[in-house]
Amino acid sequence: MATPLNRREFIGTTLAGTAAAGSLVFGFPTSAAAQGAAPEVNAWVVVQADEKIIIRIARSEMGQGTLTGLAQLVAEELECDWARVTTEYPTPGQNLARKRVWGNYSTGGSRGIRESQEYVRKGGAAARMMLVQAAADGWNVPSAECSAVSGFIMHGASGRRTSYGKVAQAASRLQAPTEVALKDPMQWKLVGKRMARLDTVDKTNGKQVYGADLKLPGLLNASIRACPVFGGKVRGFDAAKVTAMPGVKKVVKVGDNAVAVVADTWWRAHKAVSALPIDWDLGPNAAVQQSAINATNKAGLDAEQAAVGNSNGDAKQALAGAARKVEAVYSYPHQNHATMEPMNATAKWTPERCEVWTPTQNGEAALAAAAEAAGLPPAQCEVYKIHLGGGFGRRGAVHDWVRQAVAIAKEMPGTPVKLLWSREEDMTHGLYHPITQCKMSAGLDAQGNVTALHMRISGQSILASIFPQNVRDGKDPVVFQGLNNGGGEAMLGYTFPHLLIDHAMRNPHVPPGFWRGVNLNQNTIYMECFIDEIAHATGKDPLALRRELMRNHPKHLAVLNAVAERARWGQPAPDVNGQKVFRGLSQTHGFGSYVAACAEVSVSKDGALKVHRIVAATDPGYAVNPQQIEAQVEGSFVYGLSAALFGECTVKDGAIEQKNFDTYPVLKMADMPKVETIVMGSGGFWGGVGEPTISVAAPAVLNAIFAATGKRIRELPLKNQSLKA
């Protein structure tokens, strides 16, 4: 019997076989190669006659800096002049036509660099070898006598020298080498350096074109309204009420649950769709309230059946016989990604071809969605990727907005139509951070040592909704992020004599998604706050207790020790503006990297929280661009603190209540603490940096709040809690 494939594999195996090979065709707006006629040296590298180097990037740039980091890796091995490097996206259609020569396009799970580093470096190295070979052939000398530095090839014996641009044509006709050696990390000149991003300037002058900004000849615009209740449908609508409004071209039913208005401008389309009377069949979910979702998750905390994620010994028995027990229940809410650029896609459909321009975290998944919605073979479709105005996981696995855009374009053959969601549409039709609760139970012996820990998670599974084929026997392995027994991805840093971590799956009707940090976010809160609770209950210092429990996990401990030392844990923090400052710790391992944080907070008598400073440490193994890692760590605190302080989407009558930033507040400048980042790459492995730090933000702050107030916050967000003395 064939092994079920996940969606990504499915796309690769089916599309690559049917797509015809062809020359590279690049779509607006990333067509550097289309302007120069230079042939590629290989799939990763184009060298133009003017010495400009074009490095192909398969992953998507959404702010995380992967574009620059991946280019550094290619350029390192290519030995080119970094100042001449530009980048471009090869299209997903061409990737499939060329048997996925650029590998995976999925940009999520902080995997951009760590998953592709080896083959992109080999791509750069192979191109360098071909350029050197071409020069050597021209000189009629062995290539082994030649060397390449900064875009030039030298023949030491004769002193001859030429440039990459001069031999690129000849190099492009050579066979690719079969054996490609990579540099020893000690030889790296670009990797590991604080390189400036390649995409900054256009983001400071308004020139960067986002999907929402795309201009095409004859372009029309669409605004959409989907049923406010998930699972509801359109029963009918009165198009005549809006067809006479200025600019309106067409009113289109989209799928069974949405209606769009197409107009000359988006504002006119949006005005019309807002005025459009729609008769909704809300369906049975209209009866669902937040309290019912919470009650279901609560019941799961004590359910008999649960999938085991990690265990050793017999935790239940050890707990039953423990001299003393500590127990606490935590909860974590649904949240919207709230990318600054709302979902959008431009689609052009004819009976023969469908093209889509969209910001996507996975060009191949976008292509598959477009082809399915277009009713055309993937070989007759194409997706042109555009830099994202934020992704955070919303634009990766499920391309609902692409399907909608294609469905609308299909109603107007030959006309490109840009669908842009309003903020309200975006807030109420997200793929939300899964909602869970957690009961933590610790058994202590007479001396206060932890003998057993039972962590029962109850609530929503992402995989059950998005990749159900990856759920086996009721177990979603991603639920246990950061809690795994070993492995390089996300492992628990503590050792307990008896351990049980299990999950009672409870899936509400609200669709979940991969939300930056994913399940590490709440798991780290549950574990790291509860470790603090145990420390308090046993009269131990939170750092000392962690050190005891982490003795088998030196890399976890190393980042924790680094923040404790930098923050001077154990010495009182200096007052700020006459207010006492308190500290809290947290650590975890996720997305392949070890991270820790120490937060410094004060809480005023009337309960006002101020997070003054966070010291953070990250060990991603190899640190490709430390200044961008710092940017990701700072950004992770913004995302993580937004969640901890404000983040919450609640359900009323089956629909999400929060509709814009006035009811879904996020962290702003005034709330932003100072961040000191220790990048401590220990080498030997490749970890991600875009996500892991998010998860340590909240527990470090919550533990500091406890130190300041004695109040243990177990339900987020903080805005619903009083810290008043």
Binding site: N205, Y210, D213, T265, T339, H387, L388, G635, K668
Partner: protein
């Protein structure tokens, strides 16, 4: 046809009177550097200057802007994109996804114009734009660097910071 003075030019458009300035700029005048983020003046992505003051253009009807009032967008902040803040932004590698940065820069430019030596509290109260990537600390550093450069160069603050 209605008229607006944008980036030093008189521009005509045919949008309905209640159309927000944001959408006139983006869809009638092709100036897409100014972004739509929320439509309710919460996020600041749509910030432009009207006579030098920061305005959230998503809730400002275009018809409420007088023909004599001068609108400046990110495209007009400096003819070569070399405003002291834009240079500081590049030097500090401020943007991540970049979508909010036009609004951030316009808010910062207005701040420096009114307060050439902003304190942290000034920055906190003027910079209420939302950035989901989390560039706040670099935004703050770049504003301070730009303010410092204006001071140390002895530049004419009003001339340097004022929009074209």
């Amino acid at each position: 046809m209605a008229r607006l003075n944008v980036n030093g030019q008189v521009r005509e458009h045919s949008a309905e009177a209640d159309t927000p300035l944001l959408w006139v700029l983006r869809e009638q005048l092709g100036l897409t550097g100014t972004k739509y983020g929320c439509g309710v003046a919460q996020c600041g992505s749509c910030t432009v200057h009207i006579d030098g003051a920061p305005v959230r253009s998503c809730v400002m009807p275009a018809s409420a802007v007088g023909a004599g009032q001068k609108i400046t967008t990110i495209e007009g902040l400096h003819p070569q994109g070399a405003h002291v803040l834009q240079k500081a932004w590049v030097e500090n590698d401020v943007p991540q996804c970049g979508y909010c940065q036009s609004g951030m820069l316009m808010a910062a430019a207005a701040l420096l114009k009114s307060k050439p030596r902003p304190t942290d509290a000034d920055i906190d109260s003027a910079m209420t734009n939302i950035c989901r990537c989390g560039t706040y600390n670099r935004v703050r550093a770049a504003i301070k660097q730009a303010a410092g450069e204006i001071r140390s160069a002895g530049l004419d603050i009003v001339h340097t910071v004022r929009s074209v």
